[in-house]
Subunit: 190 residues, 2 copies
DNA sequence: CTAGCTTTAGCATCAGGTACTAATAACAGA
DNA sequence: TCTGTTATTAGTACCTGATGCTAAAGCTAG
């Protein structure tokens, strides 16, 4: 039956690991995996300051909810602060840590692009599909915390095609520019 | 004291709303806010099929964990299936419901862009910052469920500048193309 | 062999319930 | 007004996954 017991220290380390990996595990299950009594597990948790199952689940639930809320907000890709439909618009995006390349702290291009695209689509007053873009330029690297101010102008419309320019500034400095060609749908497209 | 009771139906509707908003509320707290006994709350939950507090917390915790995991995976923006550093690479992205414009079911351009950008950066063997892009074209609209296959080729290098072309196909049809100009950093940049 | 740490056992208690029974209150229809 | 139905409340036994406490072993090193 070799009730293969482990030294206390080792068991407690393993305990921490297991609970971190699966916070949904009960003391009973733990006692079975370690071949010790439930009381021992409880003592271990006490010593290690690990809360009971229900508290663990509770905190997982609320922490994850926080994370999801912040991601939801991020999905907006910039807040539109001014909008004259069919003419122009302004959008502001506060960049955060999780938009950057870890190694360089530089904001990933697609966030900047996404802000510009969203704004360009917002100024067009119709169901639209983005079909062509040209002349994008990133002028300077953008770092977490920078506030991106994007201005869009509708330059020309031809039938169901819209030519929209977007300029994005960081601290008054131009950081990005893009010319978007948007095609409304609903009508035939080609 | 006007124990202001509410009609049953109304109370149950309000109950659903409250619990949806705050799944962490106990029957006792609910009974206080509605000025009814705990038993009434329990009966209501039974009729409405609402599980007990602990179950609610449990499901919030695990559902949100699932969502977070899928978002994590999404952050990769395409799976790189082939890569010859400094030369070429292939990335596959399965599009999903939450990448599209609700109204049109068409995949938002920045996901396609992000896949291409990520791939372009991956094929360059260095710390890179994206600084210039040109000649992007979206050829056809892409719908949720479409599988995007992006191929990148390094066309030219000049000093710390890399010219990378990315072609993305959906069902053998070209859907996107982009020429990226990447600049490695670490060295001086200008 | 004994002092000290570690482990186990047992029991009372708690929160937040389920499941069930039974009594009472409220109200609508004849 | 009485009556039948629905709604509400009360109360009990039981459940899970714990806490908190006391006490008894088990092991181990000096």
């Amino acid at each position: 039956m070799a009730r293969n017991t482990m030294p206390k220290k080792e068991r407690q380390q393993a305990l921490v690991d297991i609970i971190n990996k699966d916070p949904f595990i009960t003391d009973e299950e733990l006692s079975e995996t370690f071949n010790v009594s439930i009381q021992t597990i409880r003592l271990d948790r006490l010593e290690l300051g690990i809360p009971e199952l229900r508290e663990r689940i509770r905190s997982v639930a609320s922490e994850n909810q926080k994370k999801l809320r912040s991601l939801d907000a991020k999905e907006v890709i910039g807040e539109i602060v001014d909008l004259e439909l069919g003419v122009s618009g302004i959008s502001i995006l506060e960049t955060t840590e999780d938009m950057v390349f870890e190694r360089t702290q530089i904001v990933r291009g697609h966030y900047i692009f996404a802000q510009a695209e969203s704004l360009a689509i917002a100024v067009i007053d119709a169901k639209v599909a983005l079909t062509g873009v040209a002349n994008i330029k990133y002028k300077t690297p953008i770092f977490a915390g920078d506030k991106l101010v994007a201005k869009a102008k509708v330059m020309r419309t031809r039938g169901n095609k819209y030519f929209v320019w977007v300029f994005t500034k960081v601290r008054q400095q131009e950081a990005f520019r893009g010319k978007f060609i948007l095609v409304t749908i609903g009508e035939d497209r080609r």
